[in-house]
Every structure is written in C-alpha cells, then in structure tokens.
Symmetry: C2
Subunit: 365 residues, 2 copies
Amino acid sequence: MKFLVEKDALLIAINAVSKAVAAKTTKPILECFLIDAKDGKLKLTATDLDIGIEYFLDTNIEEEGEIAVDAKMFSEIIRKLPDSMINISLNDQKQLIIECEGSLFKLVTIDSGDFPVLPEINAEQSIVMKQSMLKEMIRKTIFAVGIDENRPVFTGCLIELKDGTLNMVALDGFRLAMQSKVFVGNTNEFKAIIPGRTLNEISKIILDDDSDITIGVAKNQGMFEMKNCRAVTRVLEGEFLDYKNVIPKEKELRVTVDRNLFVDSLERAAVMSKEDKQFPIKITVDGKAMVINCVVQSGDVREELLVESMGKNLEIGFNPKYLIEAVRASNDEKLNLDFGSSISPCVIRPTEGNEYTYMVLPVRI
Amino acid sequence: MKFLVEKDALLIAINAVSKAVAAKTTKPILECFLIDAKDGKLKLTATDLDIGIEYFLDTNIEEEGEIAVDAKMFSEIIRKLPDSMINISLNDQKQLIIECEGSLFKLVTIDSGDFPVLPEINAEQSIVMKQSMLKEMIRKTIFAVGIDENRPVFTGCLIELKDGTLNMVALDGFRLAMQSKVFVGNTNEFKAIIPGRTLNEISKIILDDDSDITIGVAKNQGMFEMKNCRAVTRVLEGEFLDYKNVIPKEKELRVTVDRNLFVDSLERAAVMSKEDKQFPIKITVDGKAMVINCVVQSGDVREELLVESMGKNLEIGFNPKYLIEAVRASNDEKLNLDFGSSISPCVIRPTEGNEYTYMVLPVRI
C-alpha cells in the first residue's frame, strides 16, 4: 500500500469517521481505522458495531492495499502534521509509514482481515433531502429520547416516511417531540427506530448546507448517504408508541405566548426549582395573565407574563426542564400552548403550520 | 437595604468576585457574596479565606445595609434577568428581594456578621503596571508551578521586585519559568510567594488592556488593586529556591531554533511519547541537523529540523511536555537553547533581550 494525500482532505475524512470509533472496548480492532486504498480511491472506515462510517477520498494511489491502525494515534499524528502532502505506505514489517516534510512516523498495524465488514445496504425505499434540513430535524427531536434502558424502544428516535410526510419522533414517558416535513409526490414508505446515541453521532457528520443526503432502511440497518460519506446504524427492535394517538385532540385552554419571554421566565423559575431537585413549577393562567412560580426552602420566584388566552383558567405543575427543552427547540416568535385539565399534557405547536409538536406531561403540585 | 442597579454592571462585578467563592466547604458563609450598600457604593465581596475579592459599583442607594446571600443562586438569577434595571432590597423577614420587570425573587440570606472581613492592606512597597502586562507575565510563568504539596513553597509563584526589576518565577523541581520586566527608576522592593491557585484566579479578573494595576505586599498578604476591584491573597511561608544560582551560566552548545517549527516537531514526537506514559524523547544535535526521536512499543517517530548551532554535538533526553510548555509560553520567532552536557539542563531564552528564561532538566535515556 502506498499513496499520497493532502493533509486537509485526510483530516476531514478522519473527523467524520472518528465518530464511529469505539470508546471503550475489549476489541482493539474496534479502536482502529481501516485504511483501504483501491481503484484510485482511499476509503477510511470505523465502526463500533452499532454504527459504522466510511469516507471516500480521490487519491493518487501508487500501490493498492489495506490495513487497520489505531484511530486515536493516527488522528493525532495527522492533525499535528504541517499543511502539506502526506506520503503513507506500508513497509515489509507491516508498519504504517507516514512521511511529511521532516517528519517520519512508523506505526504498528493490525491485519485488516479482523476488521468487521460494514453491511452493504440496498434500501429500496429511501428519501433524499438537504443535509441542513435533516440536521435541524434531528436537533429538534433528539433531546426527548429516553435514557431508561429498561424501555429500549424509547432510547431511539422513530423516523417514519408515510403518505408523503417524514416524521421524526422521540419520547421518554414524560414528554414527546415530533418534527414533520411534507415531501410532495413522494410515495416511498419506511419506518425505523434509530438509537439516540448513533443518531447523535450521525448528526455531527451531517453538513449544515444544501447538499443532499439519502436516508434509507433495509433489514436491521438504517443508512445515511452523503457525497463522500456513508453511515450505517443498527436499528432498535420493537414497536414504537402509537404517538399520534397519545397527543390530545381536544383542549380546554389555548394560550399564545411570546417564545423568548416564555423560555426566559421558565429558565429563571428553573434556578429556584433545581435548588430542590427539580421541584415542580406551577403555571397559573388567569385571563391574560400567566404566572409561573416555584417555592423552595431557599426562596421563591414569581414570574408574570402577558399572554393571549382562550378557554377556562387553569393551575398546573411541570418539571421546568421538559418545558424549557421543548420551547428552546422551537424557533417561532409565538407558540400555542394547548391545555386540557391540570392532569392532562400540555401540547406546544407553532401558531401557523404543524412542522412540530411537543407534548409535556404535568406533575402533581 | 435597598438599591437600584443595572444588570450588566452587576454581572461584571459578580463575574469578578465569583472567582473567590469557595468551591467545596463546610462553611456556608464562604459560598456567599457579601452585599454591602453604603455611601453611594455597592460593594460585592467573596472569599474562600485563601483569596478574597471585592468589587465596587457606583449605585443609586435608597437605604444602606449589608447581607450575605448564596453566591451561585444569586449569580444565576442575575445572569438570567432581562437587560434592564434591577431593584434589590431586604424585607422584614430578612429575605433578599430581587425585582426586574415581571420577575420577583425572594431569597433566604445569612447574617453579614458571620462573613470574614477582608484584611485592609497598607502596602508601603508596591508597583503600578499595565494589567495586560501582568496578565501576560502570569500566563508565561504559572504553568511551571509545582503541584507537590510536600514541597509547599514550590506550589507558589515568586513575585520579587528588586533593583528596578520585577521577576516572576515558578519551578517544580523539573523545570523553571522566569519572566523579568525592568521598571526604570523604581526603588521599591518586595518579595512574596503567591499560591499558584489564587494567582490563577487573580489572572482571570485582570483585564487584557492598558489600565493600571497595583501590586503590593504586606505582612502575610499579597494585594492586587484595580480601578473598581481589589484582590487579596495569602502568601506562602518559606524560602524560595535561590533561582538565579540554579540557572547554569556556562554552555557547551547553543542551538538557535525556529520557535514554531521546534514546538510543532516536539508536539508530534509527544504523540508517540504519551503512548507509553511520557516516555522520554531523545534530541540529537549534529552540526546543523537537530533530530528528535522517540521509540515506543506502538511505533516510532523521527523529526528532523535545520538549526543553527555553535559548540559540540550532543544527545540528550527530555520529558517532551516540559519543553513544549516552555517553548509555547515564549512568543519570539527564534529561540536560543543552551546546553551543557547530557545531564545538565537546557536553558531557553529569546535571541535578544532577557525578558524570560526557561530551564528544563533532562532525563536519562
């Protein structure tokens, strides 16, 4: 194996693929990159078996070959090399030789035969969208993914394409976050629960620009394909909650709030709330006045907001963290909060359209 | 107590004074700010007994008074309030009332009588300099402060004003860092060993601009006085090392290196070195060629640099971390490295002037 590669290009590949390197493992091969030089292309791969990422670079390949090398050491060395061309090759002792200006490194390697093969995925049903759009949908949903390993299906994010709408849904038993995008004319359908952890890593390699990404599902794998990069993740087994039916359709009270003023008030109330282990805050709606308050041993807070309201007055308790995360994830100027009774959930939606729905369950006060 | 204060101004005071709030303590009063409204001035104070910081604000005071309040809670609340005027007062139940637009907080307080009084310092010997200059002198020395509590005097930084020169020196038994500034005509003299930890906190409140700071020493306290802010720190007892006499005066070899190329090579060599618990690197000087190398189990590195050298050739070992920190702290384009034998220290100085001296002891290879 022998090839010449530009430092900056290699570093972009390293940064993407690193997200799939195993953090703690008893299998050293999972802490490696697979370096594969073939057909004029350099392919860098990493996998922790839950997620696999591969990145392709057009490279001047003098001699084909493949080898596995410790990912952390290789990354650190490349990062610290001068911004120049790097010569990478394998010597007779199976050492990886890295040469760049006055620097010469020799690294021990592991045979590439031990490296797990990333599954080839033939996703018959898929969707193409802008990377920035997918990145934003993930950001606005993933915070609600559960962490309770006893309910494994809730530790993932549902991605469902149906009736020309892509829905992304996360929930943890206390709150729900859902994003929807309409793809006019799209007749494809799929459904997969992607683990929150791998989806989070994937969102880091998705660019914040207009370039395309293809999402597809096949067997037990989800696939995210970009121009030079492909990520494959395992999907969670099991039935996701019938999320559409848990969101209340009726309401007794609709409050329209200024998003920024509301989240600021909630965050101030949360300062007192967390003085006493996330002690609930109380929200009181009385006509056009919304009062948020929280009384703990070290003091109390009272926040008053002017709102628009329609329906009967209400007193209801919440864990402020759940409301804050939902309101923060929305970015409209105004939000509708729909309430039933003091024991039914609050549903948060934009005042126009239905791109997102957040639902937060109340707590007894 | 009752006063009106602008949020931004109060936040600047909070940020400065917070550096002296005790992190872990069994005395709740040390986790408090002392709020003292008197003579048209608001004074905010915090101390962990090692360091004390007070900050003065010109404020519209309606009613004088003083009280102690939990620093973390108070800071968080003020930080999250709108950018507006804040009304702060004390009610009959000794609760601190914070009012700002629609927000109303009531916090429990602690009697100010329990708050430790910061020592008044009449430093007869002192020096005035630009804050940015002192900040830089600290940054370029403090990294060499020792962490071994068995040698307490080395856990501090010596600040010595003598013969019109201010010297700042830190050392830990393996390396030494020294900065010097000449103050023409200054006849004051003082000497104090400031604990590294408190000096580090003080450096955070020193501005990076041309405004003045006064440094003085009295009894067992060091004092740093800025326009609205005063920091007082305990000093360490004991005799500091006779640092001037440990720096070798003779040399067998002088190597002049390009600072950036040298530190980059060292950092690459350090990648291999730390694969094996800071395994030493070997530096070989042979005429105009300097070679840095390090061989560990997982591989090896060889860095070659073109240098200017005068004297005999040499092979010498170092912990790369110590060399890197010293070279990084210097910011000249070229550096002189002076060597004796392979068991005597390397002395690093600028090629012109003597504003700084770094010394690093070798290790056996």
